[in-house]
Each structure stands twice: as C-alpha cells, then as structure tokens.
C-alpha cells in the first residue's frame, strides 16, 4: 500500500527545476478534457496503474461555480488521468463550512461531469475512516492529525483548487486546498483547530505530511477581494498545472499580479516543499505576462501586490 507520508522532503537547492504549464481556456464549455490531456501528456505524471485522488475545493452551495472548483474541470481531469492509464480516479473533498456534501455535489451537478454513480466516484473526506498520522514537520504545535484513509491510501494525490484570494491567508491555491483533507468528523466544520494552530504553520505541516503529487488550478473564473466565499468573480481564462504545488501556486500568484515571496505560507513552503523562484520553474504553454490578470486583495494584503 502506498503511503503519502513516504515522499521525501528536500531543501530547495537539492531539487531539480519544477515544470508548470499555463493553458488558456476561455470558458467551461471549452474542450477542457482535450486541453488537460495534452497538458498532462506533456508533463507525464507517473499515474499508470495507480489510484488517483482528485482533491477539488468544494466549499458550499454555489451552482455558478464561483467559490468551488468547477465540476467541468474536475471531470476533465478525471478523464485525462484515466486516459493516461490510471487504475482508478476518485474525487474527494471535505468541505470546511458545509456538512451537507451531497447537497454541494448535487448543486454543482458533479454527476453530469464525472459520469458513473457518484457513490462510487465521490468520497466525502469529512466522514471517511481515519488514521493517526504523526506530522513530518513541527511548524505548528499540532504534532499529529487524524487523516482520511482514502487520502493515505491513494497512490497519487492531485490538489485542484480555484484561483482565489483569501481573507486570512492572502491567496488560497494548491497548498491551502489541502486543508480540506482534515476530517470534520474529528475536528468539526470548520476545522478550527487549524486556525488556532496558525494557518501558515498548519499548512506547512499538512503539506509536508501529505504532499500533493500534482496540482491543477481552475483559473478560468477565479475570485478576488474578500475570498474565499464572499469575494467577486474574476475572469482569468487559465488552467495552471504542474508536479510541484509550490511552483504552481507561485505561478498563480504571479498571474494574479501578486508577489509569491510575500505570501507567508508560500515563502516558507519554498524551503522544503517546492520551488518559488521563477528561475527554478520551467514554464510551459503560455507565458505569465500574456495571461497576467491583476486580482484585487483586501487592504490587509495590499503588501502582496507587485507594484508595492
């Protein structure tokens, strides 16, 4: 049985450059399956014969898909990983604020995009079986967490966030999306223990313990301002994907005209979890400058802007 905790941590100078692809996608009616399949084929993630878990950011009952990762992107990713030879591709999330996951996936019409019976393809991580896992780093005082078996057993975990600003963390992308694996049945709705441990520190501990193997960010329509729920929709027209969640998030921040090094958790994640510097990220597809779309942030995060 593969264990997510087995993936080694390494300091930044010891790592090879990361690869991040930026693809234009004007809307959710575009051929996202084809686009993601071509992107994944180029990045060549090692998923043949593996069990893949897609971890979208499902937050609440929002049929328009502005606060949630759009189900069309989730469906396209599932199809692409299956075409690449994955043995199975499950979709799982543990929404932080809304207990009724069935209502969320039905409001989103997830079934229309991922096919088959939802009971066989979607798992509510909030109520999955759990196992005690010692955290691999001690950034926070948490030391250990109970985490879902489905996540711990998956061979390959893909973080699939929405491109959004966040009123407490600055931005919420691939790393922050991993908060959703912490189960509500142990820690509640919201998973307030993570806030008390410090968002930045808890993020580092979770991502060092269960490292996402890959990230795909839904930036076709993102959210700016008072995200992750009450912000304003922001059309950006991109999908961003890569095998290094830190590099993917840093690239997304640059697309949003924010400085990744000024985002606390991202700057700290760069020590052990991935690359933040542009020269260490091999950019595929579109150049950042051609898709750059400045996002509004709350006053308290004005320091994140490029021109400050």
């Amino acid at each position: 049985m593969a264990e997510k905790t087995a993936r080694p941590l390494s300091v930044s100078f010891a790592r090879a450059a990361s690869r991040v692809a930026i693809r234009r996608a004007e809307n959710y009616q575009a051929d996202l399956s084809g686009l993601l399949f071509e992107t994944l084929r180029e990045l060549d993630p090692p998923v043949r014969g593996k069990t893949v878990l897609l971890k979208p950011n499902f937050v609440g009952l929002d049929a328009l898909g502005v606060i949630n990762t759009h189900p069309a992107v989730v469906g396209a990713a599932r199809e692409a990983f299956l075409r690449l030879g994955a043995r199975s591709v499950m979709v799982g999330d543990g929404p932080a604020l809304e207990r009724d996951s069935e209502a969320i996936v039905e409001t989103l019409r997830l079934r229309d995009h991922i096919g088959g019976k939802l009971t066989e393809t979607f798992i509510d991580l909030n109520v999955d079986d759990v196992r005690r896992v010692p955290l691999r780093t001690r950034a926070s005082a948490l030391k250990e967490l109970y985490l879902p078996e489905t996540v711990l057993r998956a061979d390959f975990v893909v973080s699939m966030p929405k491109l959004k600003t966040h009123h407490w963390a600055g931005v919420t992308l691939s790393l922050k999306n991993m908060f959703g694996i912490v189960p509500g049945n142990c820690y509640g709705w919201p998973k307030n223990i993570l806030h008390w441990a410090g968002i930045t520190r808890a993020l580092l501990d979770i991502n060092s313990t269960v490292r996402p193997d890959f990230a795909i960010v839904d930036g076709i329509v993102g959210m700016e301002g008072n995200g992750p729920i009450q912000g304003t929709p922001k059309r950006c027209g991109v999908l961003v994907a890569g095998d290094d969640a830190v590099a993917v998030d840093a690239t997304c921040a640059r697309i949003m005209a924010l400085v990744p090094e000024r985002i606390d958790y991202l700057a700290q994640a760069a020590y052990l979890l991935g690359h933040i510097k542009e020269e260490k990220i091999c950019q595929l597809g579109e150049a950042i400058a051609t898709v750059r779309t400045p996002f509004e942030v709350l006053k308290s995060f004005a320091r994140l802007r490029e021109n400050r």
Partner: protein
Amino acid sequence: MAGGPQLPDAAKNSPPGNSFLEKQCLPFLTSAQNPNGGWGYRPGSQSSVEPTSWALLALAGAARSAALEKAIQRGAGWLRETQLRDGSWPAYAGQREGCWVTALGCLALHTLGVAPEAVANGVAWLCEEWPGEGGFWWRLRHRLFSRTTEIRQNYYFRGWSWSPGTSSWVEPTSYALIVLRNARGLSLPRRATLRVRLGEGMLYDRMCPAGGWNCGNPLVYGVAGEPQVGPTAWALLALQDHRERTENQRSLDWLAHEYEQIRGPGSLALAHICLEVHGRPTPPLEPALERLYLTNEFFHHVPVVAWAGVALSPAQPWLQWAPREVA
C-alpha cells in the same frame, strides 16, 4: 435494557404506512451496525461516536421489536465503553481526547435511559469545558492585536467548540444546549445555568443578519454570511425556550422559505424536524426522501439515514419540550 426506564410512549407507535422508515431506514441502520455494537459513518467503516449516537436516537424513536432492542443494547454498550475517564467522548475509540461528540453520546444514553452515571460525567465535562476564546487574557490580547474589521462578535458570550481549546461554533453549542435542556432530571453541575445562558447568548450573537445560522460567521469584513440549513435547524431546536423571540421567528421564516430548495437528504430531514417541532407546516417528507434516495442512496451515510428516521418517527421528547418559564 437493565435498570433503565422504558423508551418514551410515543416511540411505540410508528404511524401506519410509513414505509420508507420501515423499508429503508430501519433495515439499513440495523444492518450497518458493526460487530462491536457501534456504527461507522458508512456500513463497514470504523465505529464512531457520532453515527452511533444518531443511529441509537433513530432506533429509539422507531417501533419496538426484539431485534431493534438488541441493536440498541449493543450500541449503548459500545458507547459506554468508549467514554473516556474524564467523562468526555472522543470521535473514535482509541483517541485520547474528548471533543464535540460528547454532547451526542450524553444525548443518546440519556434518551435511552441507560447509564445515568456516564451521562452525568459527560454533562459535567461539558459544563467544565470552555472554548478557547473569551477568557480575560484572550480578550485582552484580542483587543490589543486583532484587526477589528474582520469579524464582529461579542466575546462575552461563549458556547462550545468542536475541539478542546478552540472557538465556539453554532453546532456544538446547539448540541450541548439540547443535552443540558434534556438532562434537567439529573442533578446538573452548578455551572450549567451559566453555561446555558452564555451559550444561548452566543447563538443569538452569531445569527446571520437576515435570520438563520451558518457555522458561526454571521459577518466577515462587513459582509453578511449566508445561513445554512443544518446549523439553522440545530440552533432553532436548541433555542426552543425562546420561541416568541423575533430572531427565532425570522430564522424559521428563512428555513421554511429554503425548504423547497434543499438538495441534500440530511439537510431536508433536519429542516423537517425543526419546522415540525416549531409547528410550521411542511410538505410530506416521505416522497421527497424517496426521490433523493434514488439519486445517491444518501451516500450510505449513517447519520443522514438516522436523521431521516428521526424525521419520519413520531415527535420525540429529546427534540421537543414544554416551554421553560423564563424569569
């Protein structure tokens, strides 16, 4: 059920023709019980306090049979074994720290009329377990360092948290208030009255401006939070002693208005229970549940099936009580 009082009379009469309860909910719950007596969130998964408590409450409210009686006994036995020495319950057996499910464990055992000592210990733990916010030093630090535009809350009022030492939230506070209201026959700790007052105050403080509750963030950066069905139903059940307050009525109006839009069977069952307890008219529940069951079979989610069972059973005393005389 050795030594314990009998189940409430209302539970002995399942309404005729309540086929979804008898054909789906009860068989599902009895077959989903683990060999150790507990229930997991899904059939075959690890026994856990929350699904076990809801399953027991649903079975307790249904028609009696020898098989159900035996399932209840085994479930109650697992709950008693799982309780920690300090009186709390952890989410799962083997975990070392109690949490929000303590209120549910107390509620289930008390409703079944078993293990009064275990219930009293659990209630005592609830009365001594304060959330992390609101103490003198916390308030001082908050006043000095926090960005005051983020959240508007009155930290004098404190309820219950999901995890020890963290903030008060609507659902765990509602569960604890329901237990304390039900446990009045027991000799409650001296702090119980204060905790009820502060907990009720906290719920009203966290109500969304237009009525209803979400997890407990009514206003962030000046923007009103959207209410949610589950937290609204639990808060209204916990605040039954104040039925005439405009906040309750406004929240009931929101819930009644939302009812037809509900997509999840768990939320639907909770909304139905709440509206019935408050005497608000509701459309027949059974056809709606049957329709939703065909969609995803409730994701085989034990608490959701249990809530559906409770909603389809006659009103149960733990959910509905005579109004308290408020001084």
